[in-house]
């Protein structure tokens, strides 16, 4: 059982050290990674995904319950505690969605009733996140970008059931991202989001700040920010509403923005 993971600092691109030398994530934590484009956010989640042990370009070390990853994490994907969803991750299989999820659930083991239930649960989860619901019988390659991303997240949360989920720029995926965090919070996992989105950052317990490939700071979301996040949410919802009107072919009049301060 994984209780916590620890990132031990390494260095940035020019060999200058990470300023934060040790960061611990506990089970149930939601952590964001923020920083300008090219600042090393993706490198950091790759370090976690690769179980870095001083052997990646950053020289960082990732510890699980305080020790380096056991070899079976890497050797056996069904024992790999991490699901990584990058901007490049996609499904390549051209199968109906339910057949695909069932195939995956079978590989993970379990009895037939559980397999069918898990597949349905994953589809329902995905449909909470998408604008247009996906059908169990639709083919994987016919899914839109948002539906694909929603299904990746649902599969990682429900069928992989890995204790650690890494999500790279979920806001670009065209899914309901706050709904995603809400739903994911129900599963006791460590979630790490690479994000540029203030709403996601403020919904997180803490955020890691990157610059020039280095870990510059670790900021715990405080009471003031939590209170402020309600305003951010209101503003974001107003923009989302405008986006929906745009999608539905309406003329925009901007009344949503009047209440936002």
């Amino acid at each position: 059982m994984i209780r916590d993971i620890t990132v031990m600092g390494g260095h940035g691109r020019l060999g200058r050290p990470d300023l934060v030398r040790k960061i611990q994530f506990n089970m149930g934590d939601v952590i964001s990674i923020v920083g300008p484009t090219g600042s090393g956010k993706t490198t950091l989640i790759n370090d976690i995904e690769l179980f870095a042990n001083g052997n990646t370009p950053s020289g960082r070390q990732v510890l699980f319950n305080g020790v380096p990853a056991p070899i079976e994490y890497r050797d056996d994907p069904s024992r790999n505690p991490i699901a990584l969803i990058t901007q490049h991750t996609t499904f390549l299989s051209d199968m109906p969605v339910d057949a695909f999820l069932t195939t995956h659930a079978k590989v993970r083991g379990g009895n037939p009733e559980d397999i069918t239930r898990l597949a349905q649960e994953a589809i329902d989860f995905a449909n909470e996140l998408t604008g247009e619901p996906l059908a169990a019988e639709s083919r994987m390659t016919e899914l839109s970008g948002g539906q694909t991303r929603a299904l990746l997240i649902a599969d990682a949360a429900i069928i992989c059931s890995t204790p650690i989920v890494l999500l790279d720029e979920v806001e670009n995926a065209g899914i309901h991202r706050t709904r995603a965090i809400e739903l994911l919070r129900r599963y006791r996992k460590i979630f790490v989001f690479v994000t540029h989105d203030p709403r996601i950052a403020l919904l997180s317990d803490a955020r890691i700040v990157m610059k020039g490939g280095r870990i510059m700071d670790f900021i715990v979301t405080d009471e003031h920010e939590r209170a402020f996040s309600i305003k951010v949410a209101r503003l974001d919802d107003a923009l989302a509403s405008l986006r929906d009107q745009l999608r539905n072919g309406l003329r925009l009049c901007g009344t949503e923005l009047e209440g936002v301060r």
Binding site: E49, L50, N55, T56, P57, I71, R74, D75, D76, P77, S78, N80, A83, L84, I85, T86, H88, T89, T90, F91, L92, S93, F100, L101, T103, H104, V107, R108, L152, D155, A156, I159, C160, T162
Partner: protein, 233 residues
């Protein structure tokens, strides 16, 4: 001398995997030679000679089946590598045929597969996988966790005894255990034998009769209705 024979479909990252392995072997003070076998074009030998300063050679199989060609020239290649003072000979094959496998009874057989090639690939490639000692899986970051897991399960269906290594060929992560395995392999010495049984190769098509339709051939013929199930080895 240790012998490593590496197979796998084109573009899966065989050269990248061998490059990382060669580098790590050199770091441990083991002299490495590289031998490339291909059908009509290859420049991996020149790349590795330039990058690593190791002795390299290549052979083109041309009109011969590349694995057939491998059987013919591997003995000479081992003598060449011995003369070069190599402690490890890395052989990269053309990796085309899904019916044969180039591995021999001595040395280590390594197949390099990419996770992006579809979940059912392991079921399709026969002895290239089932007679290998190690299956290296590359490009795992490009597919969903689900496909990665199913891909692995399919490899285990086909080849329960094969050691599976997922590697990041870009950073060379996951290569160390492969290097350890190479060094733990007993030295290879002639005479050696091919592990698998080659396919029936003496047929009318082989000798140049190109007419389509079984009626035009004799010897090993097969009609659409007369399917022979080939299970592999």
């Amino acid at each position: 001398m240790k012998l490593v024979i590496c197979a796998g479909p084109a573009t899966t990252g065989k050269t990248s995997v061998l490059r990382h392995a060669a580098r790590k072997l050199l770091e441990q003070g083991k002299q490495v030679a590289f031998f490339k076998l291909d059908v009509q074009f290859a420049e991996e030998d020149e790349e590795l000679a330039r990058e690593l300063g190791i002795p390299t050679r290549k052979v083109y199989s041309g009109e011969l089946c590349p694995d057939h060609c491998g059987v013919m020239v591997l003995g000479d290649a081992m003598e060449w590598a011995e003369r070069e003072g190599a402690k490890v000979l890395l052989v990269e094959t053309a990796g085309l045929c899904l019916r044969c496998s180039p591995y021999v009874d001595h040395g280590l057989g390594v197949v390099v597969l990419e996770a992006t090639s579809g979940m059912n690939l392991p079921l399709k490639i026969g002895p290239m996988l089932s007679l290998a000692d190690v299956a290296v899986v590359t490009k795992v970051d490009r597919v969903s966790q689900a496909e990665r897991e199913v891909f692995r399960a399919r490899i285990m269906d086909v080849a329960p005894d094969v050691t599976i290594r997922e590697v990041n060929a870009l950073h060379g992560i996951g290569i160390d255990p492969l290097v350890d395995r190479i060094l733990a392999t007993p030295d290879a010495e002639l005479p050696m034998q091919l592990r698998g049984n080659p396919p029936v190769g003496t047929c009318t098509i082989c000798v140049g009769k190109k007419d389509i339709g079984w009626q035009a051939h004799f010897g090993v013929v097969r009609t659409l209705e007369n399917q022979v199930f080939y299970r592999g080895e």
